[in-house]
Symmetry: none
Subunit: 205 residues, 2 copies
DNA sequence: AGATAAATAGGGTATTTCCCCTATATCGGC
DNA sequence: GCCGATATAGGGGAAATACCCTATTTATCT
């Protein structure tokens, strides 16, 4: 079994190499530190399995995964992440990943994932599986309306509902309604989380 | 040389163990997956070196580092992070870290860091060193105490005063006092502004 | 020794957030 | 013409905040 490992963190690559060697589960034909290098290598050698970190500089593991799917290559993909966010897992599987593994997971999970994926199956940990199920069942479209984004923008600037109301020529109560709806959509409970989201999504400019 | 490794990602721990064993640079007496466990272990066994991830669940490596400094333990700390943000490095060193290492750094950097730190030196990569110099030269001193930064960190995570109090073993009223003092120092009036500040200043890790 | 700063924590109050509810008007799609 | 989504807005209440105050302890500096 030919395996390629891609992660921008040298220590993580070392860990993966050590684990895979110990388990004698296959041979690593390459370990690279970027999505772009991974893609070049996969295109040329079409390995059996690609273990890709999601967050890697310019070309993410997700992006490489989509390219593999688009080209119809036989390489099967296991995506790795730091935090096991259910939204990210959903994205990963929709991008065509055959397996999903949080970095916090232990040795045997990795080996199990490699085996499962190689024999044509899909690997997700049991706990994530059930979580994903319920997430997909009641995932109400996460898209925010223009007005909602506008309100978030003002919230991230540190304005109160009253101030935002004045700025947008609506009542503070309406602002509160928008705010509450957004919170519900995103599953947040505090303004702080919303501000963080706004900054990360570029809604605060 | 006794070394403890703390990182919530199993694969990263494996990588560190493999590297340290290969280099025969010391013996790892423990590897744990949380800041709390690390702190308990360090308190009891006072190892020579603690290699701590900064971002670990509730108790960060930064926080463990501060505790070690406060207790005057001989354990020397090397902090690890994903992204080499200069603000985070500055925070880490001010928190009492003896070394700073991005996870993307290679084998020899880790070994060099361990050696340097063990012999009483401070390790940062050369490129980061010069960057840090210029950053510190023109950073406008906001004069926040370590405790205040710690509180801000939790606020930016979206925790309430009550929750922060529990996490830091102080009353919610004290958290409120810190919060109010920071607001006054920085001229803020809302949590949102504080969250923005924390993210921009790299205090949110 | 005295001053200063930091961390602790309580009392009190006004404001704000968070979240439940109902209700109306508008607009686009089927 | 009706349905669903969006935007509007109000009632109400529990929780959290922002900000005023005082006060003690510990540590550091002069």
């Amino acid at each position: 079994m030919k395996i390629i490992v891609a992660d921008d963190h040298h220590i993580v690559r070392q860990g993966l190499l050590a684990l895979i060697q110990t388990a004698r589960v296959g041979s690593i034909i390459a370990d690279v530190d970027s999505g772009e290098k991974a893609w070049q290598h996969i295109l040329r050698h079409e390995p059996d399995i690609a273990i890709l970190d999601i967050t890697m500089g310019e070309v993410s593991g997700l992006s490489v995964c989509q390219r593999i799917k688009a080209r119809g290559l036989k390489t099967r993909v296991i995506l790795l992440t730091m935090h096991s966010d259910i939204k990210v897992i959903d994205n990963a599987l929709e991008a065509g990943a055959h397996g999903y593994l949080p970095k916090s997971d232990a040795f045997h999970s990795l080996i199990k994932a490699i085996h499962t994926v190689h024999t044509g199956g899909q690997y997700i940990s049991d706990s994530h599986q059930s979580e994903l199920q319920s997430y997909r069942n009641n995932k109400t479209d996460f898209e925010l309306t223009i007005r909602e984004k506008e309100v978030i923008h003002h919230i991230a600037l540190g304005q109160t509902n009253k101030e935002i109301g004045k700025a947008l020529f609506i009542s503070a109560k309406t602002v509160d309604a928008h705010r509450t709806r957004v919170m519900k959509k995103l599953g947040f409970k505090k303004t702080a989380q919303l501000v963080r989201f706004a900054i990360e999504q570029g809604l605060s400019l």
